[in-house]
Symmetry: C2
Subunit: 333 residues, 2 copies
């Protein structure tokens, strides 16, 4: 049973393929009678349009690709919702690609996006150097989120550095004496920015050591980072952690060492994960407006797709919010 194509419908309805195409795409100027016959025929035969052929001909599709760094990170899934909500309103489907903090997977998805001629892509680049030239050559609009790209592009970013600085300052104000920073891998711009924010705060307070480690943006990264820091000669008494997944690892290691959070050690992390207020003690965090990042990025992208956007790249910056809960407070033992 070969698939039914437009010509089969045409024959069944006694019209030309052009007419079939017209009614199926609800073009104007089609005799209602013929239209009826066509729809009937299509129904009867169970005709299903071939999207590939259509795309090839039209040179366009109505899907956008969202390439995120890690599906396991609630920050990115929240972004996803923002993108989906906006895209759906406009009739676009969003295909999610999990680059998994891996440049080669990212490159694969970028290639898939390019070769399947998606209408546009939203990307959180693994590194600033990520090569997106294929997209521009194919004139596929791109908006960059979370991490900047060396090339100028529409983007929506967060003032990570300020958030990190605020977090660290909060730790110091709360009475902790040796705050340290567990940040992401060196190649990640957000990791650097958060580290810089930490540096700023520490320097503002003078005579404080700069204590930090780089580690993967994952639970095990947080665990390892905490272990390294805590094993050092003059260990920190407070930790600023660069993302929620790492924070879980930190919790794990802190628990293993039987350290009392709020007494032996203070903790604050980036990202207000759904669980943050339920861990013990409730985790203080620097919340990012994840949903908005997604929504705004989608808006920017859809404007470009629709052609209603200026030539120059636009940059949107969003701010973080410091949410103080318990893990960062200091109580004497």
């Amino acid at each position: 049973m070969g698939t039914i194509k437009i010509i089969d419908v045409a024959r069944e309805a006694g019209v030309s393929t052009a007419t079939v195409s017209r009614v199926l795409n609800s073009h104007a100027n089609v005799d209602p009678v013929l239209a009826g016959r066509v729809r009937e025929a299509a129904d009867k035969l169970g005709y299903r349009p071939n999207g590939i052929a259509r795309s090839l001909r039209r040179q366009s599709t109505d899907v956008i690709a969202l390439i995120i760094s890690d599906v396991g990170n609630p920050f990115f899934t929240a972004i996803t919702r923002g993108v989906e909500d906006i895209a759906q309103k406009t009739g676009y489907s969003v295909l999610l690609c999990n680059a998994d903090e891996d440049s080669s997977k990212e490159a694969t998805y970028l290639a898939v996006a390019e070769q399947s001629q998606v209408a546009g892509v939203i990307l959180s680049p693994h590194q600033a150097g990520t090569d997106v030239s294929a997209l521009s050559r194919a004139s596929i609009p791109l908006v960059v989120i979370d991490r900047p790209l060396s090339e100028a592009m529409d983007s929506v970013m967060v003032h990570s550095r300020d958030g990190a600085r605020a977090a660290t300052n909060h730790l110091i104000d709360a009475g902790w004496k040796r705050p340290a920073c567990i940040t992401g891998p060196e190649e990640a711009a957000t990791a650097q920015e958060r580290l810089e924010g930490y540096f700023q705060a520490v320097r503002e307070h003078g005579n404080l050591d700069e204590l930090y480690v780089h580690a993967p943006f994952r639970q095990h990264g947080g665990l390892e980072g905490a272990a390294r820091l805590l094993d050092s000669d003059n260990p920190p008494d407070a930790l600023f952690v660069a993302n929620a997944q790492m924070a879980l690892g930190v919790l794990q290691e802190v628990k293993r060492r039987n350290l009392r959070i709020g007494v032996d050690i203070g903790i604050i992390s980036f990202d207000d994960a759904p669980w943050a207020q339920f861990v013990s003690p409730p985790m203080s965090v620097v919340a990012q407006p994840a949903y908005d990042i997604g929504a705004q990025a989608a808006q920017l992208l859809l404007q470009r797709v629709g052609g209603s956007a200026p030539i120059e790249p636009r940059h949107i910056f969003l701010s973080t919010t410091l949410i103080v809960r318990e893990s960062s407070r200091r109580h004497s033992a």
Copy 2:
């Protein structure tokens, strides 16, 4: 600057398009010299294959679609990793689609999958009645996960009922007198199964009331479910919660009411989310082998895609693991 196509490369290299195609697809029997010229030309012109055209001609693609019920649910993101790891090994890309517990979004993605002729799809159907006939008509292999479909299909499922029964029994054995169940929406088979498991346990113990509510598989669902149950005349003293996101909502409501977990109320939930051991007190759970579900599903699918699968649908059943932590233990006040 029109896009470079295969014929441009052919001209540049002084060969036919057929030859270009052959070297680019590393077919055998190509003169190394010509092959070199072709590659050089392609490089020089910056040729990028058009995947759409290729797919149209080949009538196939190398991407599989994974349609999940909710990206925000760590259970599904863990499945995603399993699928990705297997797919990648075989050279397939996986496109993730978030149906968001919504039949119409699900239908949209099913249509996208069909029309873009993905090699196969892995789906966690929103309802048993989800219409996948379009896929079969297009002979796109499908494997169903998590929730069954009325049609016979390759599937990988979990013995939810047994897990639920074990969880409830554990609650009873721990000394709780009025265990209740907060399960998902009625249309979700997993919600029903978990409820049935709860019923089984309760009935095995005789003279226990059957206390339960249906609610969305989300945090707010858990919150609302807990509120309704706790507001009833003769409220439960223990809660079996049907998924991790709901459990967060339960925690929220329980906290709001200042109920002491382990004293005033016992809790156990489905799914061992990354945060489960860090909430206060550590959450007892029924763990599902999420990664394996994904990996096995991908294996099943890839066999069909490769044609190396029997005609009859295969069904894989995986078991849950009861992990007792603190939230389900009972201490006198």
